[in-house]
């Protein structure tokens, strides 16, 4: 099977060759970050958070679950405890750092679940159209029409409280968005000539979906993934805040915030730092997602991406 030698073909020109994913991706990435300072800033922040998450065990000065009620309860920020301690004597900084790990983990897996479920649904709905399309999209609409947070809460309540169930619940909540984005991507590519060409040489539908259509739909999916990641982290924090997230003593930012409510006036740092951590992370992902969207997917200007 010969492929044409236009290795980084612009994926938006109709009738072009099949794009080679790897080279095209690198080229696109370079273009995005050269053009958008916002995306660059977002990337820096996001990568920073990921690094913190990955190296938390190394960077954190204390064990995040180590309590020290006797001596170190609710200490203000100092050299020993740069972010102070909480009501159980735990070092806030360490908990914030480990919290990054938890948030990123949950966020990535949740978005992974959503993509795993939503992208195939969208591909099928967009490609086959007709009855399949209608059914799938109506089902998605039903899920979509409830406030996401209530849905997630309900699922965790039904399934039971655990980190895994939180990831699952958030993932299911965001599945419709990915289905929708994938489907519109498929619809816009379905009529391109190279798809017809593939059909003409006898490629099976599955093969066409995987090799011709999927690579072209990747761009909006990536944009959506970035934006949804931000909201997934927000959702996890919200669930934890409500007491439905990862069970204690896991250092979840949202839970730290809710724990701090009783001590807010006397020890505001217990609320401030976790809250800022959430905010900065989400800001970073939003910048990244927005910058990506501006460059990769300019016609998408709806404020989709889920809700709190």
């Amino acid at each position: 099977m010969t492929e044409t030698d236009q290795s980084t073909t612009d994926q938006t020109t109709g009738g072009g060759s099949r794009p080679l994913p790897g080279a095209a991706a690198a080229e696109t990435a370079r273009r995005v970050f050269a053009e958008s300072r916002l995306a660059l800033l977002g990337l820096v922040i996001t990568v920073g958070v990921v690094i913190v998450a990955a190296f938390a065990p190394v960077i954190a000065p204390y064990d995040p679950t180590a309590q020290n009620i006797a001596e170190a309860q609710l200490l203000a920020p100092s050299l020993e405890h740069p972010m102070g301690t909480d009501q159980l004597g735990r070092d806030v900084l360490s908990r914030v750092l480990y919290g990054a790990q938890l948030s990123i983990q949950v966020g990535v897996i949740a978005v992974g679940v959503a993509m795993l479920a939503g992208v195939p649904l969208g591909l099928v709905a967009g490609f086959y159209g007709g009855y399949t399309d209608e059914t799938v999209m109506r089902a998605m609409d039903v899920v979509f029409s409830f406030p996401a947070i209530l849905l997630a809460i309900a699922m965790v309540a039904i399934l039971g409280q655990s980190t895994f169930n939180v990831m699952l619940a958030i993932g299911i909540t965001y599945t419709p968005i990915f289905a929708r984005v994938t489907r519109s991507g498929v619809l816009s590519v379905r009529e391109e000539t190279f798809v017809d060409a593939a059909r003409a040489i006898g490629d099976s539908n599955a093969s066409i979906l995987a090799r011709d259509i999927l690579p072209n739909v990747v761009a909006p999916i990536i944009v959506q993934a970035t934006v949804s990641l931000a909201f997934a982290i927000l959702a996890e924090s919200a669930l934890s805040f409500l007491g439905l997230g990862a069970p204690p003593p896991a250092p979840s930012w949202g839970r730290m915030l809710s724990d701090s409510r009783n001590f807010m006036e006397s020890a505001p740092w217990t609320a401030l730092f976790p809250g800022l951590a959430i905010m900065v992370t989400i800001l970073g992902f939003n910048f990244l997602g927005d910058g990506l969207r501006d460059t990769l997917d300019p016609q998408n200007d709806t404020e989709s991406g889920g809700s709190i």
């Binding site: 039903v142 029409s145 409830f146 406030p147 996401a148 947070i149 209530l150 809460i153 309900a154 309540a157 039904i158 931000a230 927000l234 924090s237 919200a238 805040f241 409500l242 949202g254 915030l257 809710s258 701090s260 409510r261 807010m264 006036e265 505001p268 609320a271 401030l272 809250g275 959430i278 905010m279 989400i282 800001l283 939003n286 910048f287 927005d290 200007d301 404020e303 809700s307 709190i308």
Partner: protein, 317 residues
């Protein structure tokens, strides 16, 4: 058809939607593992007591019988059933929880409009200048700050450090206007901030689009001042997609309301639903989901009607 007939048609369409929702919310809750009674009382419950309660609540009857029974009660008697643990009237619970939520949602929407629209205008008129960058950055901030964090910070600053507003509770503005508004300020700000960011960005982009339209050039060629051109000719057109954005984001708004009711201890439907989910009060849940769906449908309706009212080009068929 005229505007009035359009309104009527849309109102009548709510019925089928509610039917669908009721079916789903009733049906979905039957999925609760073990059954509602077991779920409400946990595994510690005495099996004989559980069976007795199941008989009492008619939970062993076939699905469609139960469903029709439930719907019938609601439609004919406005009876949503009783709570399992305390045997309180669900309809009363729903009725008392609805007003605070409506006040909160409405004031949140108002906040978002009052902040978002002027911010969007300032941004568009000065676009690519410092005011624009500042406003856009603040919009990003507003979108990124989790509303529970914002709520806590607001309480910290405006309730604890500088005691101006109460940190919890709800007083109906109908009973006591001053106190009512006071209790609503912080919650409304918390709910409305994220939406105001969305509104601001929408206003900005649609205003920029309008500015490049020909009729703006005509207005300037008539000798109108820039202020008049912007506020009378441009904004009016840009408002159309912007106000509908508020309606479209109602889901977002409602999600925020759930959390905010928790933080500020407002006895609204959000908090009721949350509690019902956590305590497995399925009758309450079924009722509140129905009410929430009705709220959604009404808001969508209002949005569409507002859109049709603002834009004289819309044809009502």
């Amino acid at each position: 058809m005229g505007y009035g007939a359009y309104v009527l048609k849309r109102v009548l369409l709510i019925g089928p939607i509610l039917f669908g929702v009721s079916l789903i919310s009733f049906g979905a809750l039957e999925l609760l593992p073990g059954g509602p009674v077991e779920a409400a009382f946990g595994t510690r419950a005495n099996p004989e007591l559980v069976e007795q309660l199941r008989e009492q609540y008619g939970l062993n009857r076939p699905f469609h019988v139960r469903y029709l029974d439930w719907v019938g009660d609601i439609v004919l008697n406005q009876d949503f059933g009783q709570t399992i643990r305390t045997e309180r009237d669900v309809s009363t619970l729903l009725a008392t929880s609805l007003p605070p939520t409506i006040w909160l949602a409405a004031s949140g929407a108002l906040v978002s409009v009052f902040i978002g629209i002027p911010a969007g205008i300032v941004s568009a008129v000065n676009h690519y200048e410092p005011e624009d960058y500042l406003a856009t950055f603040l919009a990003f901030l507003g979108l990124s700050i989790p509303n529970f964090f914002l709520g806590l910070v607001l309480i910290l600053v405006f309730s604890l450090y500088v005691p101006i507003f109460p940190s919890s509770g709800f007083v109906s503005p109908l009973e006591d206007p001053v106190e009512g508004v006071r209790t609503l300020v912080l919650p409304a700000l918390t709910v409305g901030t994220a939406i105001s960011a969305v509104v601001m960005r929408m206003m900005r982009s649609s205003l920029l689009e309008v500015f490049s339209e020909e009729y703006i050039r005509t207005a300037r060629a008539k000798g109108l001042t820039r202020a008049l051109v912007t506020n009378k000719h441009a904004v009016k057109n840009a408002l159309i997609p912007t106000v509908t954005v508020v309606g479209l984001n109602f889901g977002y708004l409602l999600g925020g309301v759930v959390i905010v009711e928790q933080i500020f201890a407002i006895p609204g439907i959000g908090r009721l639903t949350l509690t019902a989910i956590l305590t497995r009060e399925y009758r309450v849940l079924q009722g509140s989901l129905l009410v929430i769906a009705l709220l959604f449908a009404l808001v969508n309706l209002a949005t569409d009607l507002l859109y049709a009212y603002l834009d004289p080009r819309i044809k009502y068929d």
